[in-house]
Amino acid sequence: MLPRSQHLTTILRLSLCGVCLIAAFTAYTFDRQPEQIARIESWLFRKLTDPRQVRFDAALAEPDGKKAVRMMEQWTEDEAQCLRQDHLADKVQSAYQWLSHAAESRDDLPQATYWMERWLEFEDLSIIPQARYAELLCRHQQLRKKGIEILQGMVLRYPYHPEPAINLVNALLLENRPADAWQVVRDNYTAIRSNLCTVLWDIGDGFDYESRRSTILEVIENGTLRIGFSIAEACTGIELRLPPFLTALLSEPSITWATEASSAPLNLCDPKLQSRTGVQLELNEIEFNMGRLRCDGGSTPVIRLKLPAKSIPGTAFEFRAQLQQLPTRALMSPLRKDEFAELVTVLTNRGETENVALLRRFRALATAEDNFELFWHKEGSEFGADRSAQTPVALWPENDKVRFVAEFTPQAEAADLRFDLPGGLGIAFTIETVTTTVSGVRTEVQKQSLSILSTNDLTFSDDQFLVTGNDPYIIARLPVQVAFDQVRIEGTVQ
């Protein structure tokens, strides 16, 4: 026994010495070589987190749908310890979202709802899962009331966010409550919105949100938006982040800054901006729209300018535009439904003139937002999809109507034209001019020289086409059969 115990003691002593040596080495490394510790740390971090992420990625990449779902479910169960502010929280949330979408695509609504519930239990302070969960509830007739309550609470708390408002409008329409749905649209339109713009400036090494950044108020005076500031440094670029969730048309957008040569405003919608001035323009979540800029509720609408030369330190910049606030497209779109045509009548009977005017205006906007479609044919042929073109329209909202312009470039020969108008019971269209371009020559076809052959789901009176059904179109004959490059239709929607 004695030798054995001596043997054990020796091993113990040796082990203790070994630990001490490790301790000494560790102390030395911590004290003298912190960069080695950083290396060990990143290795350890990868060791501890990579396998978890790899399994998630593998589930995402799995081509077999059923197997992918099983893998993802297993992954979420294995990560049940993960909580909302952990590093892996985003992945867990993505997993719940993925599983819910997967269930939804299988038409398994209860399962989709279950996964959304799980997501909400995990993260109760996020807009998307709340809005989506409520939206799923609204699809069940028995649970719709609860879904609507959730969405109403969200709309109250986050009044300008489009997502809950859109879901609530749709849910209220399912409940046949167009008046309440309209109220939601109105409230969203008049909600408190951000008026804070963020400005980033580049001194030659790129834009960096964490360094050269500041905020400034937008100022709107008599419909003119002004954002003015100076930058103490010489800079080569300006990034102007307009207020998040802005929904507006910006006409005549320009930027001014004093250079040695000039300080004239530059029109940002000038197609030759770069060639004329050397200014490079980039947009994010902002679209060009017939010489204007359009923001439609994106969370980060950005105008980025690369200047042709470094600005002088202390240069004052000013961005200007005529601003016209609009509701988001997605929120306006349901207003074209027939229920709202009836609501117009109800509100008119109640004498709510202002309310009716706003509803009519938004319905006109929503209608005019939709694509217009043009069909054509020569003599002896029929209208068909192979001889058609679609185009988005440009809008000029006015007080009581919306002016629109639709440009088609069919490059075809036609004798008759068929304009398919966007549907919307009770909407009245006026076609003011039709312009054709033939070999670069523009010809305005007068209204009276257009002979209307027939209409569908439309009645014509007082120079207006009133939509009476779901497939409104006009067939018109041109004075002569021509091969044209472009057809441009201008008119109004009311």
């Binding site: 203790l16 301790a23 950083a38 350890l44 502010q85 952990d86 708390r157 008026n195 103490a232």
Partner: protein
């Protein structure tokens, strides 16, 4: 040698075992901490590296070991240099519950105990704080909430917060500075905390803000809004900008059955801020914010160089429903943050624009003036020096406490010492630079004649506001018929009328033209400080002063009043006009105040708000339609006569009630009502404003009602409601109020020769108010004739309290003194008690030279309340049950010299008691008529 080696080998474990154990303990702990807060939890913006975790842990263990074997302890620190100790006890099970899965597990309250002055009491304890520092290390921040509504140091809930920076005292001194500037801030004290008998180290004992904070600062308990959308309370998918999301603000005041829409004031504020600055919106903002308080807040931001009140967090706004104004409460300011100090040699921030509210305020003349005043007062009234002394004392005490703190952060004492030195130096540097820029460098004012000679062009440079323009003429001057200050906005001229306040004295014309330079935004890169990159550049402000008959005045000198000094302007041939783009509300208008004159019969429909002064002639009848209300914002002079009283009556006799007549705001100061009658009103809620009475006086000083009558209001509301006001009632009669006849909050009132009869609830109800009551008669109150509560004080002389259910009720840290008064035929003539748990103390009442007769019971003082009945008559002949010898044991009423029938025991003069010092100026006059030789009010 071999033997020595063998010996060393044999005994090696004595050295290697402790080292190995220490190492393993260290390694395990380090790994656990790093894994929890680096691998699992996302602690950003703070980051805990493995190296930092290891080094800190090693130093912490070493420090603990050294302190454990050291013979020194906290007890050795001299008392005047030591901090108070808070003793907290948390069981092992509860501790492991808190530490189970940090930080999540730490946010759930567990049971614990706290040492109160009278022993251990049950409390709830949890960890608090958003960031790693609060729960990531050995020393953790706590929130402690007492059970059973007990108050520890006057607080039900408080925080023990781990100091954030090497100097350890930032927030504590920040709150002290806030107090010096007159701002509301939580109570804060540096303390040592013992957990289960072991020293955890030095903490900031910090009040958790609630309605008690408002009471402490003499504010109405309205609402406290909390705007915090950061870290664990941030919302994903949205901007988290608190001023865009009013519904996300929490409300702190515990309002039973909170009124729906109580976010309305905040919503209103958010709507203003979400719009565009203009003269109108700036005026609305100035009406909604207590600009003096916000000016002090602006001064605080600069003096502490804090950027912690940003777009996303740390906003605490108190809403006062009576003054209709927001006031800021300082919370977690992290002042003089070492991580955000400008580098040595570079300038400190002279303006801090880190939030949308800041952007607005820096364009508002009222704010800029209030801020400047606050800064100047801080430097010129010796507050800066006083504060620096406090800072030195705090640093010394903290330094002593930290010597025995086992869990210091940073973990090297030398870093703390260095931090304290640079902290102290930075405060001084900040004060020096701010004083230089704001107090000493006033700037110049240039002047020139306008080309058409119609006025004077002025160009203001420098941050100091010009308070007035002085025109010295070579002859006696008359006040011009029109004085206007003009500025340019978008190329258009904007005029402000100053005629009303322009003063002509001898050969000098004093024009109250407040003029400021403008502060234009300039983005300037400052390393590592993205929030501070919105700096402001001074730009001269261009103004034109237009006076009728200027040429006839023969002006010889143009001076400006700036910082209480007269300064000569610099004359120049011409000044180029420029737009006032970055400044609004530069000067308040002072037009000639021509009062409206009301006479005959006037019918009021709906809500009518009158901003002008109003003179109401005798015999005027104001007929109030159903639910109509009349809100005066200017001074009212309603002088009726006995023959021709002024009447506020329902438009249709016996018709439905009208709303309210109110004096709202300090524009009504000095209003007078004589021989006026009010009848048939109720109350009103107009916009954000609540007027819970037929006649309301809110935020108005020096109002007076003489020989007036208030008769039969309807609905269960008060007849008269006072808040933040001072009002004199002389010969006023209240009859048959549906609820309280007179309810006063945070006001000062004086009633002489008044009669209150048949109050539906209380006759007079004082809440945090002070009152003098003299020669008055209160009878037939259904509940109580006089209620004195919530820290109120009352002196009553020669007043009768008759035939009421309760005569006088004094409670909750209130004082009342009755001299030469009668308490007649009441069920319970006098009660003193403690009711509201937020006021730890009871009531103190003294009754001197008074008469008790025909009452159904004795005066009664419960709990920690006291009543002293001195030299009074207790006439109980027809109520033999009232016998002072049979008073209950728990009745703390003391009868002194109350024998001897109706003859006073002593004839020595009666003094005003010291606790009524605040009322002394008001009481002095009536005190001359107090008689020592009489018991009761009878003078015959």
């Amino acid at each position: 040698m071999r033997a020595k080696l063998a010996f060393a080998w044999q005994w090696s474990a004595t050295a290697t075992l402790p080292i190995a154990l220490f190492f393993l303990y260290w390694a395990f702990g380090t790994f656990q901490q790093w894994k929890s807060f680096t691998v699992d939890y996302d602690t950003r913006p703070a980051v805990l590296t493995l190296h930092q975790a290891g080094v800190d842990r090693f130093r912490n263990l070493a420090r603990n070991a050294r302190l454990a074997i050291s013979p020194d302890s906290l007890a050795l620190v001299p008392e005047d240099l030591a901090l108070r100790t808070v003793q907290l006890f948390i069981g092992d099970r509860q501790l492991s519950q808190l530490n189970n899965r940090l930080p999540y597990s730490g946010y759930e309250f567990v049971d614990g105990q706290l040492m109160f002055p009278d022993g251990l009491h049950e409390v709830n304890v949890r960890y608090r704080g958003d960031y790693l520092l609060h729960w990531g290390f050995e020393k953790k921040s706590f929130r402690v909430r007492s059970k059973n509504k007990e108050l520890f140091d006057g607080l039900q809930t408080f925080n023990l917060i781990v100091p954030k920076f090497p100097e350890q005292v930032n927030n504590y001194l920040g709150y002290r500075l806030a107090n010096h500037l007159g701002l509301m801030a939580p109570r804060c004290e540096l303390v040592n905390v013992m957990q289960n008998g072991s020293n955890l180290g030095m903490y900031e004992f910090t009040e958790q803000i609630d309605e008690g904070t408002l009471r402490r600062y003499g504010q109405a308990v309205g609402e406290i809004f909390v705007g915090d959308l950061v870290a664990k309370s941030s919302i994903k998918g949205i901007t988290n900008h608190v001023f865009e999301l009013p519904e996300t603000w929490e409300q702190l005041v515990d309002t039973k059955g909170r009124i729906p829409g109580s976010h309305a004031p905040l919503d209103h504020l958010a709507r203003i801020l979400a719009g565009s600055p203009s003269e109108e919106s700036m005026a609305q903002l100035a009406e909604l914010l207590d600009m003096d308080a916000f000016g002090a807040f602006g001064a605080f931001e600069i003096l502490t160089q804090t950027h912690h009140f940003d777009e996303c967090h740390n906003w605490r706004l108190a809403w006062n429903p009576w003054t209709q104004k927001f006031r800021p409460i300082i919370w977690d300011p992290t002042p003089w943050n070492p991580e955000l100090r400008p580098a040595e040699g570079s300038a400190i921030a002279l303006d801090l624009v880190v939030s949308r509210l800041g952007i607005w305020l820096y364009r508002n003349g009222d704010f800029l003036t209030a801020r400047h005043k606050s800064i100047c007062e801080f430097f010129t009234h010796g507050k800066a020096e006083q504060f620096l002394h406090e800072a030195d004392a705090a640093l010394t005490k903290a330094s002593n406490a930290l010597d025995y703190d086992p869990n210091i952060r940073p973990t090297l004492p030398a870093d703390i010492r260095a931090g304290m030195v640079s902290f102290r130096a930075f405060i001084e540097r900040t004060f020096h630079d701010v004083r230089l820029a704001y107090v000493e460098a006033a700037g110049t004012v240039r002047c020139a004649s306008l080309p058409d000679q119609s006025g004077i062009a002025l160009e203001v440079h420098g941050r100091s506001p010009v308070e007035a323009v002085l025109l010295r003429c070579n002859q006696q001057v008359q006040r011009p018929t029109r004085v206007v200050l003009r500025h340019l906005r978008n190329g258009k001229r904007v005029e402000t009328d100053l005629t009303g306040a322009t003063i002509a004295q001898n050969n000098t014309l004093r024009i109250p033209a407040r003029m400021l330079c403008q502060l234009a935004p300039c983005f300037r890169f400052i390393v590592g400080q993205p929030l501070r990159q919105h700096t402001l550049n001074e730009q001269p402000g261009y103004y034109e002063l237009i006076l009728d008959d200027l040429s006839a005045m023969q002006v010889v000198d143009i001076l400006v009043l700036r910082g209480n000094e007269e300064k000569r302007t610099e004359a120049c041939p011409a000044i180029e006009p420029s737009d006032l783009r970055w400044l609004y509300q530069s000067t308040p208008p002072h037009p000639n105040r021509v009062p409206q004159v009301w006479r005959g019969t006037i019918v009021i429909q709906g809500v009518r708000e009158i901003r002008d002064d109003v003179v109401i002639e005798p015999g005027t009848v104001i007929q109030m339609s159903s639910e109509a209300s009349l809100i005066f914002r200017g001074r009212v002079d309603a002088s009726g006569t006995t023959e021709q009283p002024i009447q506020f009556v329902p438009a249709i006799p016996g018709g439905t009630a009208w709303g309210c007549m109110a004096l709202a705001g300090n524009g009504c100061n000095g209003s007078r009502f004589r021989h006026c009658d009010w009848r048939g009103g109720s109350s009103a809620a107009i916009g954000l404003h609540q007027f819970p009475a037929m006649f309301a006086v809110h935020d108005c000083a020096d109002a007076e009602l003489r020989d007036c009558r208030l008769l039969a209001n309807t609905a269960a509301t008060c007849m008269v409601h006072l808040a933040h006001s001072s009002v004199k009632f002389d010969g006023v009669e209240w009859q048959n109020s549906s609820a309280d006849a007179l309810h006063s909050e945070l006001s000062q009132l004086q009633l002489t020769d008044c009669q209150i009869r048949g109050a539906g609830e209380n006759g007079i109800s004082l809440n945090a108010s002070s009152a003098i009551l003299c020669d008055s008669d209160l009878a037939n109150a259904k509940d109580t004739a006089i209620v004195v509560s919530a820290g109120s004080s009352l002196i009553a002389v020669r007043t009768k309290v008759r035939r009421s259910n309760k005569g006088v009720l004094v409670r909750d840290e209130s004082y009342a003194d009755f001299v030469n008064c009668d308490f007649l035929a009441c069920q319970r003539p006098l009660l003193a008690l403690h009711k509201d748990w937020r006021h730890p103390g009871g009531a103190q009442v003294s009754i001197r030279k008074s008469l008790f007769s025909n009452n159904k019971s004795l005066p009664n003082a419960e709990g920690n309340s006291r009543i002293l009945v001195q030299d009074c008559t207790l006439d109980a002949q027809d109520q033999p049950a009232v016998d002072i010898t049979k008073k209950r044991k728990d009745n703390h009423v003391q009868f002194v010299d109350c024998d001897g029938g109706r003859t006073p025991h002593k004839l020595t003069p009666i003094e005003i008691l010291p606790q009524f010092d605040a009322l002394l100026p008001l009481a002095r006059n009536i005190w001359t008529s107090v008689c020592a030789d009489v018991r009761g009010s009878n003078r015959e």
